[in-house]
């Protein structure tokens, strides 16, 4: 009997494995998913490999080598739908910090023999190389959003993924605003919803795991952070993590770093 189930492939580039682990973390749904789709390629999970084409490819990780730049083009050719999962695949990940380093300094810092290393000077999102059908954001992605995407693909509808900010999630769960009430540096006003406003709910400022929200205005937030006593260097660091490869955050990080003084002593955790 011919297997008529749609095929799902999972691919990895430069990344931590966490976003594909999100699929294996769907403990209650994993066997049901494996029944509804044919998992044709998922190296972390299976020795079995089915040749393409694939109905849906989930891609984790950023492009950091010439080999990988070629590999993603092949994957695009063999995939009907290509969906990126996570900050690395959708924005270049934290390793995109290398895009701001002087040539070669990163390799030299880590390796005794930089001449053995063959990686690009940049870390770029999948969309810089091939057309992408959907980008699922997050560092890591949210398991519920991943299930929504897979379900939507299976029935052929558009996935419902919020694009508003973490601020609205705080309002929704009744969390008092840390920025307004306590002056805590928080990226919530410019960060995409999806985590459920986890950090503000434990008294911690948002640090931007889901990247810029729709219509985000990082400059306005920076002004507010600086008024509240955050130094330009620390405000820059706040924008320069998992989504530094997205120009909305990356450009703001650079502008703040250029405007600032040398780093004063850390005040975190002090009264």
């Amino acid at each position: 009997m011919t297997d008529v189930r749609p095929t799902l492939a999972v691919w990895k580039f430069a990344s931590c494995d966490g976003c594909q682990l999100s699929l294996l973390d769907c403990e209650d749904e994993l066997l049901a998913i494996a029944g509804a789709v044919r998992i044709a390629q998922f190296t972390e999970m299976s020795r079995a490999r089915v040749e393409g084409p694939y109905d849906v490819s989930l891609v984790e990780g950023s492009i950091t080598t010439a080999t990988d730049a070629g590999r993603i083009r092949e994957i695009r050719r063999s995939s009907r739908r290509l969906i990126t999962i996570g900050a690395c695949a959708s924005a270049g990940g934290i390793q995109a910090l290398r895009n701001f380093a002087q040539d070669g300094s990163y390799v030299d810092a880590v390796y005794a023999h930089p001449e053995y290393i063959s990686s690009l000077a940049s870390s770029t999102p999948i969309s810089a190389h091939v057309p992408v059908d959907l980008e699922l954001q997050g560092c890591p992605i949210d398991r519920g959003q991943l299930l929504e995407v897979i379900t939507a693909e299976l029935v052929g509808r558009k996935a419902v993924i919020p694009s508003h900010s973490v601020c609205q999630e705080c309002k929704g769960r009744g969390t008092v605003c840390l920025l307004v009430s306590g002056g805590t540096a928080c990226l919530g006003p410019v960060t995409r919803a999806g985590c459920g406003a986890l950090c503000p709910s434990i008294g911690r400022g948002c640090f931007g795991c889901f990247g810029p929200s729709e219509g985000a205005n990082p400059r306005a937030l920076s002004d507010r952070l600086l008024e509240g006593g955050t130094t330009p260097a620390d405000a820059s660091r706040l924008f320069a993590t998992f989504y530094v490869g997205n120009p909305l955050f990356g450009d703001e990080a650079v502008a703040l770093a250029r405007s600032g003084d040398p780093t004063p002593p850390d005040r975190e955790g002090q009264p």
Partner: protein, 434 residues
């Protein structure tokens, strides 16, 4: 796949499956003798040590968590310990207990993942856990249930299962309420029973007899099976502080090989991970875990890498039992974090990631900014030993047909639960042969 005939035979597996990250293996055989083996990493490097320069030391836990989505707590804990060491900060026992509980969650999640989804299919001739579920759905569901419980602990204590958000240098942002922690007891009791079933299940697998002849290295702390702290011990008498140990581990970057290979005192390869922890600390296990081990014939030391699945299952029982103890004794730390005052200095932190010893060392300036960082994950420490295993296992299995020999070699790598994503943050990806 394998190729060649007659005197020359090459076994090559391009794209090792059921490991975390991207690697391959190759075994060259000439005239019936294994001549060369290589575990190759083609995971692209991400240069974390370089990225950390110029960052706040207080950012290290969140940044280094991103080295590995499977064991982010290990990175957060080693980073916190290293920074606290440099700053001379002590933490309340209740903070240490809460860290240990969070870490138990990660051990439970990671060990259940490895036993059920990555490793057990090898012993039962299945390509993956989905195929295994067709043979024995109850077993896979049991494994997923244990895994879910580990994730639940990480969500309650850490705020999120992958890359937890509640950890900070000095402790936590918020101590979970006693009732939130108490609610973990019921699922944990079920997970402990399922872990005991797991020991019996994997204890019944047909397991090849191999003696790895290892030099074991693990943390050791009196009265406790090591997780979040301890001195570094070895099976041949080493007893060192994490800082002393870090000084004695030398990493080589060699063209012929794939990686920065870690060697102790510049020459000795060694093994970290469950087999090492168990060999050096099995006397510290709680009674329920010791009994489970004895019931399946596991002695106080196990040097058979294929039996690591049984040791991992015993550690699963331990982690559930330990989490239950910590929950019963839980008192929220008040305040949830120690005060953090930066000062210039060097600090080292070492903890037991699910797959072995992980240490961080940071040099910090007086403002609390990282000048240099060094991170040594378990897989780079184990890499030379994994290659020794490959040589030994391939030599003993040369009678197998090509496809089965290749599978056996893959299994020899999976025995150690390598995390290539971890190792590759500073591993080279090029193999030069000739």
């Amino acid at each position: 796949m394998t190729h060649g005939s007659g005197a020359h035979r090459t076994v090559a597996v391009d794209g090792l499956s059921r490991v975390e990250g991207e690697g391959s293996l190759r075994v060259d055989v000439r005239d019936g003798v294994v001549e060369d083996v290589a575990l190759t990493i083609f995971e692209p490097p991400r240069y974390f040590e370089a990225m950390l320069r110029g960052r706040r030391a207080t950012e290290a836990p969140d940044i280094t968590a991103r080295i590995c989505g499977i064991c982010p707590v290990a990175y957060q804990m080693s980073a916190c310990l290293a920074v606290e060491d440099a700053y001379g900060i002590g933490v309340d026992d209740r903070i240490t207990a809460l860290r240990r509980l969070l870490y138990c969650g990660e051990w439970i999640q990671s060990h259940a993942l490895h036993i059920y989804l990555l490793h057990a299919p090898d012993f039962l001739g299945c390509a993956d856990a989905v195929e295994l579920a067709e043979l024995d759905r109850a077993a896979v569901e049991r494994g997923l249930g244990i895994k879910r419980t580990g994730n639940l602990i990480m969500e309650v204590v850490g705020g999120r299962a992958i890359h937890p958000v509640n950890v900070r240098v000095g402790g936590f942002y918020r101590a979970p309420a006693p009732e939130e922690v108490a609610a973990l007891a019921e699922p944990l009791r079920r997970a402990r029973d399922a872990a005991l079933d797991t020991v019996r299940w994997v204890g019944g697998f047909e397991i090849p007899e191999v003696d790895g002849q290892y030099r074991f290295v693990a943390l050791r702390s009196t009265g406790r099976y090591p997780i979040e702290s301890g001195r570094v011990a070895s099976s041949d008498g080493l007893d060192a502080s994490p800082a002393e140990f870090a000084d004695r581990v030398v990493e080589e970057h060699v063209a012929r090989s794939t990686a920065l290979h870690a060697r102790l005192d510049g020459r000795l390869d060694y093994l970290t991970g469950p087999l090492a922890r168990y060999a050096l600390n099995s006397g510290e296990l709680p009674e329920v875990a010791r009994q489970a081990a004895a019931d399946v014939g596991l002695g106080p030391v196990c040097a058979n890498p294929f039996r690591s699945i049984v040791v991992r299952a015993v550690e699963l029982v331990f982690a559930c039992e330990e989490a239950l103890r910590l929950i019963a004794e839980y008192e929220p730390p008040e305040p949830p974090a120690s005060e953090v005052r930066p000062r210039a200095g060097i600090g080292t932190g070492a903890t037991e990631a699910p797959r072995g010893l992980l240490f961080h060392r940071y040099e910090l300036d007086e403002a609390g900014v990282i000048l240099t960082a060094r991170i040594v994950p378990p897989t780079s420490q184990n890499q030379l030993t994994i290659e020794s295993d490959l040589r030994r296992v391939a030599q003993a299995a040369l009678d197998l047909p090509d496809d089965q020999l290749a599978w056996r070699c893959e299994q020899a790598v999976r025995n150690h639960d390598p995390c290539i994503s971890c190792a590759a943050h500073f591993l080279d990806v090029t193999v030069v042969r000739g």
